[in-house]
Amino acid sequence: MSTHQHTITALVQNEAGTINRLVSLFRRRGFSLASFNAGDCEDPGYSRLTFIVNGDDTVVSQCLKQLNKLIDVIECEDLHQETSVQRELALIRVEPTQPQRQEVYDVVSEFMARTPSATESTIVVEQVSDAANLERLITALRPYNITEIVRTGTVAIKV
């Protein structure tokens, strides 16, 4: 069975140790976690998390069952690309030479990204998109001296 990237979302009850418990599960059972994101959701006292997991169908099925077994986890699901919206936010700081600055803005414009902050020596590029598009943007910005990248990890919602 081939390994794919799966997007798993989970609704969890917020208690002391909940995040620790979730991440501990991935570590101890050897599930490969590419990214995870946690935040408040529509239910007060609950959080919704998005995990990006690498594995074949058997591994991901076991991962879902083990997550479901945690008392904190109310529900969890493996989302399909076609029936979900998946987005990630990235902040990329570049420090181009003066002659390169316009080229950076051209790249930003081509990718429909934003530049929420710029100083004499730095430009912070902000992009919200799917992970593949983000990778292309980062590749396009490589020549302009990327000094820091911060990514949220994917968040996903069913359509």
Partner: protein, 601 residues
């Protein structure tokens, strides 16, 4: 006048409003005692310390709950475990912060692996000191995340009644397991009017009930079609009290029943359809039957590696149907063609409504032939561990509760002790915890004082927890210890013999003079090293009221057979070299049964 329970070892200053005003009417310590009484807990096992002083003070007001003072917290957890296994009720242990809490860890890990209902209560440093590396502070919640079904750190006294009620509920419903509740010292002292909840509801947590009808129908169809079915029955049958349903299913459809180690006791061992235990040291017949079967019904088992051997060679001709209440067990190690997900008792009840009586003369005859060819043997005229355990079985008629440690004696007990009743075989099957047997036997005896209770231990494991002899003496805990002393860590020595060219590395085990030791503790002692004294020794032990240590000085180098080597498939079964190969053995045909002596020469 109310006693001020605040000790002077507090770290940091008490913030304003750190304690609730006097109008609140019960302390956290009192709420813990109330919870125990509400849950019907008559005995707890623990050890005091700084931060649980308020708890120990409150305890004096509650004579209806007996506290057993252990000599090491690990044994408090094992005793709670033994109490739970022997009764099905929740076992409770109590420890102080820091080292008290970490000493529970082995016992908690033992319980989660075998699905044992347990509530572990630990004290912690004052809530405002947590995170400041206070004296005897440890993050026991973080430490026990992977080894508890759930755990809590209660920093708000108002939440304590809810948390305790939930802890007992979670521990003893669904797939059972240990739940830890960590309570800072100030929360034991703080007061609240918060009541216990009338009912427990946790969003996202449902207790499995009856399975979907479609799953039942499919299982019934596969049973009806099968020619050579076997049932492998595990601890799940005992947890959900489905013994009668299992018996009815097996008898009606004439399906032989094999047990996993922890499933022993779920099916009568003297029943004509019982094939005993299977697995790494299971009886050959059960292992061979699974190899030849066309249908394997796994009932309340988790198909662990000691049972399946190399999974690629497990039940090669069989369709597997898995009955369990835990969805994560389905497909975890083997791939069933069908499964029945739900409470086992209800699942089997539903199946039993639809099954038709069957007879399987050819299959049963084949199994009888294997049983004749490959019996478990105890060579005559020698003083072996097996000799003692066979005699113990005869002496107790299989009616005693037996707890084992881990190693060779554990496997021999599983092979030769034919327990007649459920909840009478206590063993650390999953974690394999040496030192478990003696304290677990004590926990069982505290829970069921009218039953005869034996701990079967080796000289290695017994030396890990023998300090509880003092506890046994103080409480006159009438446990009989069958100590099989062969001067070795026998199972490790066996593996070194079979797989490491017989190079003994740190397996010779010196022991104290157990007679003097027993004398020092004030425990009745018998030493037996001769066949002719065996029966008298066992009888002497049973007749004495109070703890007894029986040391059986057995032959030093005895191996457990049959054996499936580590990582090997169940088809490559090492048979006992003392077993006479017979002509009939060749009829086994498909099976690559090997005589250990020949294979290793």
């Amino acid at each position: 006048m109310e006693k001020d329970l605040r000790a002077d070892d507090e770290v940091g200053s008490r913030p304003e409003g750190g304690l609730r005003s006097e109008i609140m009417n019960r302390s956290g310590a009192r709420i813990v005692m109330e919870a125990l009484v509400r849950e019907g807990i008559d005995t707890i096992f623990g050890y005091p310390g700084g931060v649980v002083l308020p708890m120990y003070d409150e305890m004096l007001n509650w004579p209806q709950v007996r506290h057993v003072l252990v000599r090491h917290e690990q044994c408090a957890a094992h005793m709670a475990d033994g109490y739970a296994r022997a009764t099905g009720r929740v076992g409770v242990c109590l420890a102080t912060s820091g080292p008290g809490a970490t000493n529970l860890v082995t016992g908690i890990a033992t319980a989660i692996m075998d699905g044992i209902p347990m509530v572990a209560i630990t004290g912690n440093v004052n809530s405002w000191a947590i995170g400041k590396d206070a004296f005897q502070e440890t993050d026991i919640q973080g430490i026990t995340i992977p080894i508890t079904k759930h755990n809590y750190l209660v920093t708000n006294i108002d939440e304590l009644p809810q948390v305790l009620a939930e802890a007992f509920y979670l521990a003893n419903t669904g797939r059972k397991g240990p739940v830890l509740v960590d309570i800072p010292k100030d929360v034991f002292i703080a007061k609240t009017e918060a009541p216990f909840p009338d009912t427990i509801h946790r969003r996202g947590y449902t207790v499995p009930g009856a399975p979907p009808q479609g799953q039942i129908d499919e299982a019934v169809r596969l049973i009806a079609e099968s020619k050579r079915p076997v049932i492998i029955a595990g601890a799940g049958v005992l947890h959900s009290r489905a013994m009668d349903e299992l018996l009815y299913l097996a008898e009606t459809t004439k399906i032989p029943v094999i047990n996993s180690l922890l499933g022993l006791g779920s099916f009568p061992r003297d029943h004509e359809l019982s094939l005993g235990m299977m697995g790494m040291h299971g009886e050959a017949t059960g292992t061979l039957a699974v190899q030849e079967a066309d249908l394997v019904l796994g009932v309340g088992i988790r198909f662990d590696d000691r049972l399946t051997g190399n999974t690629s060679g497990f039940a090669p001709k069989a369709k597997i149907v898995h009955f369990d209440l835990d969805p994560s067990e389905i497909g975890k190690t083997v791939n069933p063609v069908a499964w029945v997900l739900g409470d086992l008792k209800q699942s089997l009840e539903e199946v039993n409504k639809l099954i038709e009586p069957q007879s399987r003369p050819e299959w049963i005859a084949q199994i009888r032939r294997w049983q004749e060819i490959y019996p478990l043997i105890v060579p005559e005229g020698r003083f072996l561990s097996r000799t003692v355990l066979k005699a113990l079985n005869a002496h107790t008629k299989g009616e005693a509760i037996v707890a084992t440690d881990v190693g060779q004696h554990q496997m021999w007990t599983a092979q030769f002790y034919k327990m007649k009743k459920p909840l009478s075989f206590l063993s650390s099957g999953g974690l394999g915890t040496m030192g478990y047997g003696f304290p677990a036997a004590m926990g069982a005896k505290f829970a069921r004082p009218d039953e005869e209770v034996w701990a079967v231990v080796g000289d290695g494991g017994f030396q890990m927890t023998l300090q509880e002899l003092q506890t046994a003496v103080e409480y006159n805990c009438n446990v009989k210890i069958c100590l099989l002393n062969n001067g070795f860590l026998g199972m490790v020595r066996q593996w070194q013999e079979l797989f490491y060219d017989n190079r003994h590395s740190h397996v010779a085990m010196g022991s104290p003079d157990f007679g003097k030791l027993a004398d020092a503790y004030g425990v009745q002692f018998f030493r037996c090293s001769r066949l002719e004294d065996l029966e008298a020794t066992l009888k002497g032990a049973s007749d004495h009221v109070g703890p007894v240590l029986c040391e059986f000085v057995v032959e030093m180098e005895e191996n457990v057979f049959p054996m499936v080597g580590p990582g090997a498939a169940n088809s490559s079964l090492l048979m006992d070299p003392d077993l006479e190969p017979s002509e009939a053995a060749h009829q086994v045909g498909a099976f690559e049964t090997t005589h250990a002596g020949a294979a290793l020469s």
